[in-house]
Subunit: 275 residues, 2 copies
């Protein structure tokens, strides 16, 4: 008989993204246990809460173990309905709003669905504008309005510049351009002309040559572009160039885009926006 997987639900009156992120980071602390995971967003009425309760009880019956529930529910009436379920019910708002109210000497507004960048907020506009900026300045596409960039990422092709730029925009509202360093730059041993006068905004991404070769081989198998020796040459030349111009840089090989983006902001002392 296959071992039972423990059912896990992320339940929210909003998108469930926060409940899911926090729940995931808690669950990854339990290596040896298998989970089946479902997100149930937009539980913002009593009716939906009752349906949700039914879903929990079915999951319980079919798995034979009671579910774990990670919730972010602002409305106490809705939350109380879900409390009827036989499950481990961990509501992040429930646990933390009380201590916050006591500390701040104020009642919370119990307003549903307020979270990451509500539409109309300045922060939300910043994020959308930053996405448009990142797309218009991806891969050295345009040096127009490059001075509006908060940061200009440089590095060899496929070092992680594009996903990092987009993440900086979407999550943090940071305007990131990105610009490739290419063999012509290495031959001249100079940064591209549009970048030299903006070196204070540059941040470099480097990457292990063997990982770079792997990534490039997925795109253009067997090419010179993907060849390990060529990758070694490009990486070394790019790092030399960054040192020459005093460009701060990091090795992206074992870092996720979240980690890369966070470290960039930390290194160049930029504040997160977008909230």
């Amino acid at each position: 008989m296959a071992p039972t997987k423990r059912p896990v639900f992320f339940i929210s009156d909003g998108t469930g993204i926060t409940a899911e992120m926090l729940g995931h980071s808690l669950l990854t602390q339990f290596d040896n246990i298998e989970f089946t995971q479902s997100v149930i967003p937009f539980i913002d009425t009593v009716d939906k809460a009752r349906q949700c309760l039914e879903q929990l009880s079915q999951a319980h019956a079919s798995a034979g173990v009671r579910p774990l529930v990670f919730a972010t529910l602002v409305n106490t009436e809705i939350r109380n309905i879900l409390h009827e379920a036989d499950c481990l019910f961990l509501d992040f708002f429930e646990r933390f709003l009380g201590p916050l109210e006591a500390e701040l000497g104020a009642r919370s507004s119990h307003t549903i669905g307020r979270s990451h960048g509500a539409v109309g907020n300045k922060g939300y506009q910043d994020r959308i504008e930053a996405v448009n900026f990142a797309l218009a300045h991806d891969d050295g596409m345009s040096i127009r309005e490059l001075d509006r960039a908060d940061v200009i990422l440089v590095g060899v092709s496929r070092s992680g510049k594009t996903p990092t730029s987009l993440y900086l925009a979407l999550q943090f509202g940071i305007k990131a351009a990105n610009y490739p360093l290419i063999p012509e730059d290495f031959a001249r041993n100079e940064l591209p002309s549009g970048l030299r006068e903006r070196s204070a905004k540059l941040y470099g991404l480097s990457i292990a040559a063997d990982r770079l070769s792997e990534i490039r081989n997925e795109r253009r198998p067997g090419s010179k572009y993907a060849d390990l020796d060529n990758c070694r040459y490009e990486v070394a030349a790019a790092e030399q160039l960054m040192r020459r111009y005093g460009v701060p840089w990091m090795n992206s090989t074992t870092r996720s885009i979240e980690e890369i983006a966070t470290k960039i902001l930390q290194d160049i002392k930029l504040e997160r926006r977008g909230f």
Copy 2:
């Protein structure tokens, strides 16, 4: 005298993104209180924890009120150092790992920095691949490999397709192409030819005409493209086209990209990936 702003810190041994998201959604429940907010990521050594403690005590002294701290710290030694601070210390792991351990009958591994899509995970690769897919299939750029899309977003220009596609990729590992509906399509009253045979994968975004006109006026002030009557025409024609082909759609006007992305997944019953 200006009212004191309450200092708030988001402290983590990882990126701090989860602590910040949850902390923000808690703080937005307190409308009338002003906060100054700082994220302190990568607190993964005793030394860094001690520096952090110093920072908290300085903030306390200069604000004259004790700070709020939202933390995700796995390591108990590091957490205990920060507990020495005179602050309201809310650690998400501390509060929830205990009940989880009891429920699961297992000890947590207390491993630092495990969270959203660690590099090398299948989920992480899915997200990066999805970003590349979204970029290669932005704005109808290519119908090559369109069958690999999980969803194809359609709608008039500036209805929110691009940021939504990128968010679906980065956050959920979902491959989203996007394809504009343009005046030529409305004149023919037909979907573009590459899309008709893929109508099962289509999802539409619509938008209020006055909001659309505002957004377009930022790009091309005073143009026919941005003209309110033209926007009314395009929106009505696009909605008619979507109804004709049975394409599910939503109005994006008052929804954030997080909400749009979540509702799409819910409507077309796609599972989130990327973890």
